[in-house]
Amino acid sequence: MSSISIRNVRKAYGKREVVHGVDLEFADGAFVVILGPSGCGKSTLLRMIAGLEEITAGEIRIGDKVVNRLEPRERGCAMVFQNYALYPHMSVAGNIGYALRVAGVPKAERERRVAEVARVVGLENYLSRRPGELSGGQRQRVAMGRAIVREPKVFLFDEPLSNLDAKLRVQMRAEIRRLHKRLAATSVFVTHDQVEAMTLADTLVVMNGGRVEQVGAPAEVYHRPRTRFVGAFIGAPAMNFIDGTMAADSFTFDGRRVAVEWPFARAHAGRPVALGVRPEQVELVAADSPGALPATVDFVEELGAGRVVYTDIDGLPFAVTLSEETDLAPGERVGLKLLPQSLHFFDGETGLRLGLAESVETSRAAVAAA
């Protein structure tokens, strides 16, 4: 069990830098999920923790030990790979027990521990099978068993569920959660799937282009995205954005005006600002309701439990989710009523969330007081 501390870590392949100075602190026993689009450097970061990639600059500590120069085996990490990377010529027992065999653990103890781990991951009846004779989910379990058996201080997962079908993925997600509860080892889980990230994480790290965009609890990241990128990346359907200009008591774009109750509006008046609205925080009203933005329905997506209405405001796409049934037809005119206290404002140039320094409570309180 160990905390992980990453200080100003960079990675360059040749001249091309792909991780640009990352600072992170993971508490002992935390379940950290690193989320980001493909190619943002999450695997690279994970592999630097594991010791599979050299660290170009900066420092990584596991526990209180700097591990920059340590071999993978000396770091006390276990890793689960995306394609499982099982040894095809070894049985399930052989795969799970390989690390113990390498470490010279006597046969009797090895067998005992392999059997125990097999029970934990539900493979006790498959110990003599080869990986080729297992289903995807079972292979996944072998990979987990192989990681568990060494009783590592740190678990590293690189998109371990992305090769599974949707249903199995949900199931394995729950199992990973359960396993983490039981073993309580610090876990770092890399994924590009936001649902996976939201459901698994104690701490969520959102990365983009080799940088950390935000670190926080999943709910916090969802409700208070620190950058426009995070707002857009998390949540489905994605957050709607309108680029415009701030005024003292309103937001204007394209000759339209949206009244806002935002304590910092005055401070940013006259500046280019992007307004972000989650599709679930918009009400559909009659087209001519006062204060509503008029829009045209493009199409409606039925999701069973809810539906997404894709509209456009004179060419600007804008999605709205509804929980109730609707008989809206394409081409129909509707009004969009943005809930004033659920608007997000981002700097038009830097994409940074505005009013960040002030806490949610102050702004909420200000809204309530207004």
Partner: protein, 306 residues
């Protein structure tokens, strides 16, 4: 492109049968000749009728060619070359694929170039080295002046000698040093996912352990395919064994013995029946090896195990 039409199939089969005929006809001819008497085999036109002299001819061939010794020599040669080749090829390919060192590209090209320099091309320098395997070292010592220095200091004239002529080592080593196997392994190693090596690293296995416990078992089919090819290749060697062995009674190979049994045209009736019987004897071991290994052989060349 895979086409499946009746006509196309028929043509394919016809070509295949034609090929089979071309391959089998000489073998069949050798077999019939080996069953005939010396008069029958010299009759013109050649008759494909089987005679009943097979055992007599085989016996005569065995005696005259001294095949007891010669087959054993060939077997030592072929096995030695096969083992050496399989090991060197696996290790060199492992080095080229899995290690990132500065001279890697250079080594790769040096090995690659040997593909273009088969033994027949470099036979003179190879012979010189076989005559004294330490000659290159001696040359280095002479050129750098170290041997002169030693001579001055100790009065000992450095003159390194290690003669490989008329030895199994001399027969085997030069045939081992080529690149074919390295490339077969390299191609295979490149299909092994990197994560496998990384998983082994995470499990604490060092490079050698990964090589022995994971890569080697995985490349079993490739190894057997390579071994089969190398065995046949080494068995059929003629020029090098001829050059490197002067003491043919002890170190001669079956192929050399077979060549000596080809009747010369100036004697009496040429006894092709005995020569063909000898050919059958010499042919048998590689046929057996290929027959035993062909299952692996084909798999190793066309596909990799999942």
């Amino acid at each position: 492109m895979i086409e499946r039409t009746p006509i196309f199939n028929a043509v394919t089969y016809a070509i295949m049968l034609g090929g089979l005929l071309v391959v089998l006809l000489p073998v069949w001819m050798a077999f019939t000749a080996a069953t005939q008497t010396v008069e029958a085999v010299n009759r013109i036109p050649f008759s494909f009728a089987l005679g009943d002299e097979l055992l007599t001819n085989l016996g005569a061939a065995w005696q005259r060619g001294d095949f007891g010794t010669k087959l054993a020599n060939s077997f030592i040669l072929a096995t030695g070359v096969t083992l050496g080749k399989v090991m060197i090829a696996a290790l060199s390919a492992f080095s080229i694929v899995y290690f990132n060192y500065r001279l890697r590209t250079i080594f790769f090209w040096v090995i690659f170039v040997t593909l273009m320099l088969p033994l027949e091309v470099r036979i003179v320098p190879t012979y010189a080295i076989a005559a004294n395997a330490l000659a290159p070292l001696q040359a280095i010592l002479d050129v750098t002046g170290i041997s002169a220095l030693i001579a001055v200091l100790s009065g000992v004239q450095v003159s390194l000698q290690w003669n490989l002529l008329n030895s199994y080592v001399g027969l085997i080593l030069p045939l081992v040093a080529t690149a074919t196997g390295t490339f077969l392994y390299r191609q295979f190693f490149m299909t092994v996912p990197d994560e496998l090596a990384e998983a082994a690293k995470m499990d604490g296995a060092g490079a050698f352990r990964f090589f022995v416990e994971i890569l080697m078992p995985l490349s079993r089919t490739n190894m057997l395919a390579l071994a089969t090819i190398m065995f046949v290749y080494a068995w059929n060697q003629y020029l090098w064994p001829l050059l490197v062995t002067t003491d043919r009674g002890t170190y001669g190979t079956a192929i050399i013995a077979l060549k000596q049994m080809v009747p010369n045209p100036y004697g009496g009736l040429p006894d092709w029946n005995v020569a063909m019987a000898a050919a059958l004897i010499v042919m048998l071991p590689p046929v057996v090896v290929v027959a035993l290994m062909q299952r692996w052989f084909v798999r190793g060349l066309i596909a990799t195990e999942k």
